[in-house]
């Protein structure tokens, strides 16, 4: 059985719709350990040993956060800087995260049309997430494509609910995929798995 660690990063969860809804649903599941990072570390003083221990115990890490200024909220970067230590997560003897699966669950005000080479934002989500891709690659982690919830600012509750159903299906597929021999489908976003 896979253990899933969800790290939720939202600086203002009280005003959020998507992330609040998702985190509430995620925390109900008993195979998921959800950590509300901004609530835990309002002073940005991250407990490094504790975070590393949680990572070691997890098989799948889900980084849940909104997409701000084409990037992650600052605490995500702080977490990366502090927790993914040299000699532990990367470097000559840093292989503690080797083979662990990681994916980003992102709420975005924009849409897939806007985040496109021909769209308003010029680059795709995947392209903008390249720094993270390189980060996890250096840590020898197994990266899964991100799940994007677009148009999050004025999202219809029904659409949001569908996203949750869709995401949960993907989650269950991932949980069982370990035992299957079939190779993972070539997809850019986890949205397209099911």
């Amino acid at each position: 059985m896979n253990k899933i660690l969800v790290l939720l990063f939202h600086p203002r969860l009280e005003s959020s719709k998507v992330n609040k809804f998702f985190s509430e649903n995620l925390s109900v599941r008993n195979d998921i350990y959800l950590r509300d990072m901004y609530e835990l570390y309002p002073d940005f003083n991250i407990d490094i040993p504790l975070e590393q221990k949680n990572l070691l115990e997890a098989d799948l890490v889900i980084m849940q956060h909104p997409f701000y200024w084409y990037s992650v909220p600052p605490l995500v970067k702080q977490w990366i800087d502090l927790v993914l230590q040299h000699g532990w997560a990367y470097g000559r003897e840093g292989d503690k995260l080797k083979g662990k699966k990681i994916l980003h669950l992102i709420s975005s005000g924009g849409t897939f049309e806007a985040y496109n080479n021909t769209g308003r934002n010029k680059y795709t989500y995947r392209e903008l997430l390249r720094p993270l891709e390189l980060t996890y690659r250096l840590c020898l982690m197994k990266q899964l494509p991100p799940y994007i919830i677009p148009g999050s600012n004025k999202i219809d509750p029904e659409v949001l609910k569908n996203h949750w159903v869709n995401f949960e299906k993907a989650l269950d597929w991932l949980k069982t995929s370990e035992n299957k021999t079939e190779t993972e489908p070539e997809i850019s976003y986890l949205n397209d798995l099911i």
Binding site: P11, R12, K17, Y38, P42, G109
Partner: protein
């Protein structure tokens, strides 16, 4: 009676405050100022002091006792042990050589009796600890080689007084005279008087146990009462008590005090005792010097001016030559050696003590005693003058002056960059935090139990009242960069804020303020780093309360930080406002502050409603 006391006090104090500033201005040092002042008010010039000068001098000799106690305090046994070769080598040689040279001169040239010459040879080898140490401190040369060596010699002499006093009876012509010496031991101890050496041993052992074991316990009890004047009283009580006991046993009071000082040098009360005794010591020494000046008997000089002049000259010349010789042997360079020789070539106050004993024992007739007393006084008088001449005329012709700087570096090493006053609830947190970040602070605290504990934990702690300048100075306020005033009593913090910039202008002040009003008063004093203990914790308690009510921590943290910043700005703003409205009664003012604060809050709340990361306000 009382008016007599007042009159005397007025004369002596007045002489000091008139003559010392003048002599300092002339660059001849305070000792000479007191001495000249004494001569001026003495029976031969103005005549404000009559023959009672002798009595006053006797009383004021107590200043020397106190001085030796303080010297002892500054010298813990370990240090004392480290200096042993210098003390014994330099000091021993000085005494021995001087005595060997003086003896034939006294015997043949001045035709004293054989025993008297022998006794006098050693007596006159003594230099004046009072004059020399005062001069060293005043000129700031106590850290030079000459200063250090002088100190060693003086120490040896001070110690040598004990055996000398013990041996003097052996020189007495008739033993009955020895018995008349004013010993006033209790009946059951009177057998000791027949065995001076045994008595000496008993006295030393007694002082050892008293200072090492009894005094610290007693002082701890006194300190717990937390009344400063009581501690001062205790300090005086002990010094006077030891002196009295030693006198009773017929041993030098100064020596007893010195021993007690050395033994107390390692106790946590060292600096407090020093600070308490110091003002009395200074005052009494001033009176002592003045009295010495006033007792110079110009009649005796007039009677046989040649004899006394030649006696003084011979004495000082012999002493000077011996000092110069051994100084050279011990590797002092020219200008330092000159200074060393000039510093110590007078005959000192211990000679008075020894001369009195010699007189009491009948080794020397009364007239000769007066003559010698006169000679000693004159040599003390001439000594500062010679030093002045050396400094201005002689020394400049010899070699380079030794830099004092190397000595100073040692003292900087000893001190921390931060001084923390008060290690209570507030101060201890600061101290622990600094220590957790490898920044050692020198702590001053007046709770002796706490001081004990902190010492055990390896902190550098001074016991005593942190608002006293002497204590601050010994804690290194001159070399420190930052002083944290974390005392619980706001009045004391303010006192410090007022005192320190005047005396230690380079010291950066961080002051604890209880509340807004304290902060205002500290701002009045120009303090820049004011930390209100009531601010940050109350805000963060608010954070925890709101978090318990379900608000998000990160948002609350941002609000808290904003609020603290705003409150500090409001403090400055309302302070300026307060200045213009002037001072109204304290209570009324507090309410006004509250009111204007609440007014300010409204403005703050209106403009800080931020919408960062709030997607609901976005238009898309």
């Amino acid at each position: 009676m009382a008016s007599d006391l007042f009159q005397n006090a007025l004369i002596y104090l007045g002489t000091g405050i008139v003559c010392v500033p003048i002599s300092k201005k002339l660059g001849i040092g305070s000792v000479l100022g007191y001495l000249i002042g004494g001569i001026l008010v003495g029976p031969f010039v103005i005549g404000l002091i009559g023959t009672e000068g002798h009595d006053v001098m006797h009383t004021a000799e107590f200043g020397v006792v106190m001085m030796l106690f303080v010297i002892g305090l500054e010298l813990n046994p370990a240090q004392f042990w480290k200096m042993r070769t210098k003390i014994v080598g330099l000091g021993g040689l000085q005494m021995l050589l001087t005595a060997i040279l003086l003896f034939p001169i006294l015997f043949f040239v001045f035709s004293f009796s054989f025993y008297a010459s022998l006794a006098l040879a050693f007596t006159l080898a003594m230099s004046s600890t009072a004059i020399v140490l005062q001069t060293l401190k005043e000129k700031g040369i106590d850290k030079t080689h000459a200063g250090q060596n002088s100190f060693s010699v003086l120490l040896f002499q001070d110690i040598a007084v004990i055996p000398l006093l013990a041996l003097l009876p052996l020189l007495a012509l008739n033993t009955s005279a020895a018995a008349t010496a004013e010993h006033r031991l209790p009946e059951f101890l009177s057998f000791l008087e027949d065995y001076p050496s045994l008595m000496l041993l008993a006295a030393v052992v007694f002082i050892f146990f008293l200072s090492k074991y009894l005094l610290p316990v007693f002082l701890r009890i006194i300190a717990k009462v937390q009344m400063h004047e009581l501690f001062t009283a205790a300090a005086l009580f002990f010094v006077i008590g030891i002196a009295y006991l030693m006198e009773m046993a017929g041993i030098s009071a100064a020596l007893g005090a010195f021993m007690a000082g050395v033994l107390l040098a390692n106790s946590e009360f060292r600096h407090e005792l020093e600070a308490d005794i110091n003002p009395f010591k200074g005052l009494l020494l001033g009176v002592f010097f003045t009295a010495v000046g006033s007792t110079i008997n110009f009649d005796i000089i007039a009677l046989d001016p040649l004899r006394i002049t030649s006696l003084v000259l011979t004495l000082m010349l012999v002493k000077w030559l011996v000092l110069f010789f051994i100084g050279k042997k011990f590797g002092l360079v020219s200008d330092q050696n000159l200074l060393f020789a000039f510093l110590l070539c007078q005959v000192g106050e211990f000679a008075f003590v020894l001369l009195t004993a010699i007189g009491g024992l009948g080794i020397l007739p009364r007239e000769s005693l007066d003559l010698l007393m006169g000679a000693v006084t004159i040599s003390m008088m001439v000594s500062p003058l010679l030093l002045f001449l050396n400094e201005k005329l002689i020394a400049p012709r010899f070699g380079v002056k030794e830099e004092i700087a190397p000595g100073k570096f040692d003292t900087i090493d000893d001190h921390n960059k931060v001084i923390l006053i008060g290690f209570g609830h507030f101060g201890s947190t600061i101290g622990r935090f600094l220590r957790a970040n490898n920044t050692a602070a020198t702590i001053i605290d007046n709770d002796s139990d706490r001081v004990n504990l902190l010492r055990k934990m390896g902190f550098k702690v001074f016991y005593g009242d942190g608002t006293r300048l002497e204590l601050l100075e010994s804690a290194g306020a001159k070399d420190a960069r930052i002083l944290i005033s974390a005392l619980d009593n706001p009045y004391l913090n303010m006192q410090l804020a007022e005192l320190l910039p005047r005396h230690f202008p380079n010291l950066k002040l961080f002051v604890r303020a209880k509340n807004r009003n304290d902060a205002y008063e500290l701002m009045d004093l120009g303090v820049e780093n004011i930390h209100r203990e009531s601010l940050i914790d109350s805000v963060y308690m608010g954070v925890d309360v709101l978090s318990e009510l379900g608000l998000r921590k990160y948002t609350l943290y941002r609000k808290a930080q904003d609020f603290i910043k705003y409150d500090n700005e409001a403090l400055a703003k309302l302070y300026r406002h307060r200045k213009t409205t002037g001072y109204i009664g304290r209570l009324r003012e507090e309410i006004e502050i509250q009111e204007s604060l609440l007014q300010e809050d409204k403005v703050f709340l209106e403009k800080t409603e931020d919408n960062a990361w709030d997607s609901s306000v976005l238009g898309t």
